[in-house]
Symmetry: C2
Subunit: 242 residues, 2 copies
Amino acid sequence: MSHQPTLYTSLSPALIQLYDLNNTVVVVIDVFRATSTIAAALYNGARYVIPVDSVPKAIEISAATGGIAAGERDGKLAEGLSHGNSPMEYKRAFIEDKVLVLTTTNGTRLLHMALEQGADNIITGSFPNLSSVCNYLTAQQKNVVLACAGWKDKFNLEDTLFAGAVIARVKEHFSIHCDSSFMAEYMYRQNRNDLPGFSKNLTHYHRLVDRFGYIDDIAFCLQEDVADVLPLYKEGRLIRQG
Amino acid sequence: MSHQPTLYTSLSPALIQLYDLNNTVVVVIDVFRATSTIAAALYNGARYVIPVDSVPKAIEISAATGGIAAGERDGKLAEGLSHGNSPMEYKRAFIEDKVLVLTTTNGTRLLHMALEQGADNIITGSFPNLSSVCNYLTAQQKNVVLACAGWKDKFNLEDTLFAGAVIARVKEHFSIHCDSSFMAEYMYRQNRNDLPGFSKNLTHYHRLVDRFGYIDDIAFCLQEDVADVLPLYKEGRLIRQG
């Protein structure tokens, strides 16, 4: 038991500095919607995704690479970007063989924070690629940090629920002494049978649905294994692994 | 509805800067054990408590005031302090009419962080003084931040459960749009009937009980209204209000 790797859950980007990311698999989690969109784009044949931390950089890099400048700020399309952060936009007919240059309020920012903190093994996860994430974690046998993107450094429940879903599946393989992980798994187990119904309690649900009408996005982002690929970060790109 | 004051829950001192503390009641929560001990000391007749953020300052101020230099670092008595951070130490026969100068790893540090951030209305809360805290919050009709002390900036569940207990009692009086508050109340409602049993899941339980044997402390800290006073911060002192 004591020789098992550790698993921790970081509930906000503002807490990520509490965890050692060296020689650790960091799972960046932004369920609504960046990491769901990344899974959808790669599942539907995108060559790769370049996650960037600012709108100007997204525009600059898309111009240089011929990629699609996409993303959002505060939940809506940012000026200068041609596409948004909805997984529904990245159907195969549109995204196949293309490069997606993506910037978002929380998820892509957290990925860059993890890089700056020395992370050398980053994947992205959401319900659409839950099984691929879990299979990777159990195969690697390395320490794990489940890194929730939250909303502007605030805690959110949808990322926590996904962390809980991972923990429920992989916990026999890890040594877990972490109240965040316990709470995440607890919330997931209590509500796993109706995540769409439960999601109506969440602040981000209302931000997305009441303001922008993204009800299909919510349903997709909470559905397990509908875009079951493993996005692995390598030299500036998220590439579909395996 | 829209004219009600707001209520937010900050799950860690590392998140407190996300919240506006001006003209806001800040409830500092460190269930195991600082804010339980503060309630116990004031309930048992301490003149007041001086919360300080370092061991040398505790020693210096206790010398100057004739107070008792007390506290802990990493859960145990720190060198140079004469008493610890157990509510059991502060029975009436010992603490009545005395001044307690208290420094702790998380709770007193968070109180000083809130002060530095401009908080001008700070109280402390734990299960032993739950009703006094709730009565004060509903009477004040001001915005509220429930500030969990956590453990070295990490999330913990015992402080979260207390935040949930407060929310369960006062929520009709506040406008609450905050996933932290929703989760806190959810965890509390699910486990309110057996908090001592549930507490065995918590990392801090094992830190206190397995290492130091503080099982009586745990029971006291989770018992509602057994030291039901309101500690209000005023000019460097926590004073029993009303």
